[in-house]
Symmetry: C2
Subunit: 219 residues, 2 copies
């Protein structure tokens, strides 16, 4: 049954806090996990993300100083990702990046780009008030990156690779580290989350969730 397969994948996935250091994900398998991020949808199709794969153990050691939620995974993960989201500088309706996405990736002709830009401007200014603060428009980009997060974790789980999503870091300190040690222009990209991949060392705990009746209402 296909439905059972999908739910089996979802039940296999859990926040795996420590990985078996002796097991490495193959290049082909990790490329497939990244491909799941790449194919993820995003608002207006603007893909406001970038993924840093951190394999250098010296850099992981530095990340560890600012990421209390990744103490067990940073030293043991086969692959460790820091996901970045775009700031408003390149996601505003009038930015070069948006023009690049519409022209070079979506292949829209100029009249379609003009129309789309005006929709997007109204969406940003009126519908969601995204331009009211740097934080509001950055958080909007972050939301999109969580779709890629879900897809990477599921792609992994589908082939029995474990993962751990991490929000446990000090955002300001991490962004400073990204600027200093990773050459990231933090006026354009800032940290959204981290996610570690590898193979579990310990058995997973029982999954806890609210019952369906508590989270769904019918109209």
């Amino acid at each position: 049954m296909k439905k059972d397969q999908f739910l089996e994948m979802m039940n296999f996935r859990h926040a795996c806090k420590v990985f078996d250091e002796t097991k490495k994900i193959s290049d082909e398998d990790f490329r497939y996990i990244l491909e799941a991020a790449r194919l993820s949808p995003s608002s207006f199709g603007y893909e406001p993300w970038h993924f840093l794969v951190v394999q250098d153990m010296g850099l992981r050691e530095k990340l560890k100083e600012h990421a209390w939620g990744a103490q067990g995974t940073l030293p043991t993960a086969s692959h460790f990702v820091v996901a970045l989201a775009r700031t408003g500088k390149t996601t505003r309706y009038d930015s070069d990046y948006i023009e690049h996405m519409m022209a070079d990736i979506h292949h829209l002709p100029e009249d379609a780009r003009t129309k789309r830009r005006s929709y997007y401007q109204a969406f940003q200014e009126k519908d969601f008030h995204l331009l009211e603060s740097k934080r509001a428009i950055f958080d909007w980009a972050c939301k999109q990156t969580y779709i890629a997060l879900a897809n990477m974790m599921n792609a992994a789980a589908y082939i029995k690779i474990d993962s751990c999503p991490v929000e446990g870091f000090v955002a300001d300190d991490l962004n400073k580290l990204l600027a200093d040690e990773f050459n990231i222009d933090t006026s354009v990209f800032q940290a959204a989350y981290m996610v570690a991949f590898g193979y579990r060392k310990d058995p997973q705990k029982e999954k806890t969730r609210q019952p369906l009746e508590d989270i769904v209402s019918w109209y």
Copy 2:
């Protein structure tokens, strides 16, 4: 090949703007899609979400007035979901809801709850400055709901059901409608996104994405 199956699912999924009105998703299949939302992970496991399934065509007509991005899907979708995220009122570290989740869902003993609450407080206050505005903490909850969004759309695509995610609505007007017509306490829940499900009427367009080299950097 398992990897091909997963990527086939991701390629099947696209923003389906109009559905075939004559085809309905079975109760069992839709329950499975909701189960994918239910099993989704969230920060600290707090599941800050609720899903409204809107099948009443009168209510869909009212939603249509405030959702320019759902003009084709609201009248034709087999099932239409409005996803809500929790406001700070029930996601603050000292809220009853957080206590409920830790005690009744996660089954943590009192000392573990106390410890976890202090971590969560530091996370909210210092690491992410989530308590600096109502918007910041609400957007944080919204990010979690996008994980459930990805999972619902993929669960659907896995069994060849189409979907369309929607951010194209006027947030303030929609929240007012949710209060007036859906009896939602908008001091506790507000709209995060909409997502429609059904079966495609038209063939899907070619998927456009940036190449992997443009969105991934290795360290």
